[in-house]
Symmetry: C2
Subunit: 479 residues, 2 copies
């Protein structure tokens, strides 16, 4: 039995050879996830969960800074509650997991494992909302949800995934719209600053919007292979759900009114975005803001006097300003280098006897492999500087990739020709017709990613139907 | 519709009149929970969830300080996996919620919504454990679990509850036993220091232990009404689960071995413990370590010049060392006092124009109602001192209640007589027979809470059967 267990560090498939296989190799070899015995469900292992904890911590702080409060809703909801809003149930019913038995007894009414919690929040709002003085209610919940997907891939699409879902109600449509925009900006800021992933902000077409939403806004990122990853969405519902779930309040004029509602979510698929935006053939490369270990210290010739002692001393010192780990296991340094590269630790410090004599160690950046000798007394400035430079370079490299892979076109022939040559974003005008959007899928294999807030005028007509078009859409192949 | 909605602050049932009603009054009036449309499931509202977040934060830091790592296991598990260990499935099967449909299709094998995750952890350990070098694996997960309880009460017993479940595997039985003990001590330390709740540490009888455990250790707290609340448990499994789930590793001697296992859990019922240990007829009283708001500032005559400005200035200053809230809403001060007392905020500061002139404000402790005038420049020392004194007094008062309500007895007549007079803990010797334990339930309505680590010798025989007895048991009426 022990013999067939795999070694920790072994080569992974190269990106050029098979990007999809490279991705799943990283997920397991960097010990982020393990497949479970439940089809389509994964286990988040300590290293993968630690990344998720850092994402949670950083997003949660942003949410709280703008007045949001965390709550917990039930994991299950009665079918009748889910069915109150037609579009929502039509959107989610095909992928709901149903609880039909409690203990040995069949339930009178089956219960859905939450695929999303708009209905539960609406039901709760209807119980606790009284007056305009109670508004806004700015709620968020961290949880996992279940959607019965047919085909699954770690982080990108699993039957259970971890996320946060914000749900807010407001006195006026304007306030709700401002909330929707604020939270989209919050996601964009987090992706760009903490995850070093440039994103395009925009509005989804009606075809791609959330079931039941009046408008869905999105941030779209481009992966190394040119495909798109929707990385966070923010929805404006108007008062549609309020009306369906009878959520009312006494207004300033003493009449009964319906509040205006939003929801917004980001999920553990952000870890997929990190992997595919920054990773290379040696493994993960983690943005410092969410890296569980920012600096790993690897002693070289650890048996020599003073090496372990100095390594421990450095770890204690660095621990004051960075997340540091001393790898004092009995493996060879070369094996450790490879392991921590696989895990994407931004900075490695090599501490050996000869360098110690000279009062220095070797600092190696994960992304560039650039090595520099740093005097011990300079580490406190060199480490933060290296982390910052690495973060900036990750972002710049991702932006460069996106720019190189972003095309524009004005005719269907040009679209087909360009997308046949290279996978990436393609910008075109669009008349607004669903038929043309579907034609883009059928003829060029592209789905609309968003109508970017930053619009450009590429031509006067829709490349599909030739009718007048004033909106620019970014199209791509989505994960 | 607006008219039938209840007012925020209204009198709650007195403890003396109906302790159970007093409890549920607090749960809703302090805005901790709201009943949901799913029978037996509650919503944790922002204030209730904020208490839970503080519990999580403080426990999580303790777990991490002793090398534990967080992970996330699937929410659902196949029936066949659950059934591998007979005692466990017998213990939990009657209260499992079963998923039988995914979308519109019946599942080939039904899936249990996790009631506890030993089976999932074992399955995972069997995939990732290779060698003794991988041990110990010290895992924990924060999640909610579902148990189909017949009757429910907020925090104490709900069909879904929030908890953490630690699951660890070790090379030797001794290490696993040490872990079990360490985690029990961790819970006791947390309850006594952070929640100001004295606990009795001990071992559960076989009747009361966890399904499938070799030994279950517990911390038992006494509520104000004399009833017992099991507040955290730690289980030692030996290698029973490892064998059932084929979890093996290559040992130091190159043979295949089974690791030794523990699990330990504490849940959102701790919030129930806080309510019933410290609360009074005006509402909650929160231990400072987990109070979402430690200091509330209430401006008096807020329309007078300088009052709001000074209040804001104080809030900014106090925010540096305590969780502070300025209540600048347009309600009357008296209404605010009552509301924040209901919510159990440990310290209230009253800031009015006349006091401001004298450079002072009024500090009021929630528990004693003791008022003191404090000069603004002394707040930075007076507030932490008052919080500390309040915490100590909460603990002392709870201990005093427990001591006053703890009896001992040596005959069944004495047991019946004493328990008829007063609800509390009763200590007796016990022969170890299940029959005598069951007789205590039938004849005196008592269940064994634990065999305390701190044993006493009360007599030589079991009060039920008269046979020799060497163990002392603490009995009580449990929530």
């Amino acid at each position: 039995m022990a013999s067939d267990k795999k070694k920790m560090v072994e080569a992974i498939t190269a990106q050029e050879v098979d990007f999809a296989q490279w991705y799943t190799d990283i997920c397991t070899k960097a010990e982020l996830v393990e497949y479970s015995s439940v089809k389509g469900f994964v286990v988040l292992r300590p290293y993968g969960y630690a990344i998720w904890e850092n994402i949670q911590k950083n997003l949660d702080a942003r949410f709280k800074a703008t007045g949001h409060e965390n709550v917990a809703m039930p994991m299950l909801m009665p079918e009748s509650l889910l069915k109150k809003e037609g579009e929502l149930v039509n959107g989610f019913a095909p992928e709901v997991a149903w609880v039909t038995m409690g203990g040995s007894e069949p339930l009178e009414e089956r219960l859905a494992v939450r695929p999303t919690s708009e209905t539960l929040f609406c039901d709760h709002f209807s119980h606790v909302l009284h007056s305009y003085r109670d508004l806004p209610m700015l709620y968020n919940q961290w949880c996992s949800v279940v959607r019965w997907e047919k085909s699954t891939r770690p982080f990108l699409r699993t039957r259970e995934f971890w996320w946060q879902e914000g749900h807010t109600i407001h006195e006026t449509a304007e306030e709700a719209k401002a909330e929707t925009e604020q939270q989209l900006n919050c996601y964009a800021d987090f992706c760009e600053n903490d995850l070093c992933i440039p994103v395009i902000k925009g509005r989804k077409t009606d075809k791609e919007k959330f079931a039941g939403a009046e408008a869905t806004y999105t941030i779209e990122a481009m992966m190394k292979d040119g495909k798109a990853l929707q990385s966070g969405t923010s929805h404006y519902f108007g008062d549609k759900f309020s009306r369906a779930y009878d959520v009312t309040f006494t207004g300033r004029d003493n009449t009964l009114q319906y509040p205006f509602q939003t929801s917004w979510g980001a999920s553990s698929r952000l870890i997929g975005a990190i992997i595919m935006t920054h990773g290379d053939d040696d493994g993960l490369i983690l943005p410092p803001a969410i890296a569980p270990v920012q600096v790993v210290i690897v002693p070289v010739a650890a048996h020599k006097p003073g090496v372990l002692e100095k390594s421990r001393e450095l770890a204690a010192e660095i621990g004051k300003y960075a997340r540091v780990k001393l790898d004092d296991s009995d493996k060879q340094p070369g094996w450790k280098f490879a392991q921590w590269e696989m895990k994407g630790v931004p900075i490695r410090l090599e501490v050996g006897p000869r360098d110690i004599e000279q009062g220095q160690c070797v600092l190696v950046r994960r992304d560039t492999r650039e090595k520099q000798f740093v005097k011990f007394e300079d580490l406190a400035s060199a480490i933060p500087a290296a982390l910052e430079a690495l973060a900036k370079d990750l972002y710049d490299r991702a932006l460069k990739n996106r720019e190189a892979r972003t095309m524009s076109a004005t005719t269907m022939d040009e679209i087909k020709e360009k997308t046949a040559k290279s996978t990436g974003f393609i910008k075109t005008m669009w008349c607004g017709d669903l038929a043309c959007e579907e034609a883009m899928k059928e003829q060029a294999g592209l789905s609309s990613r968003c109508m970017p807030f930053q619009q450009e005028h590429l031509s006067d007509v829709c490349p599909v139907c030739g009718k007048p078009a004033t909106k620019m859409v970014v199209w791509g192949i989505a994960y």
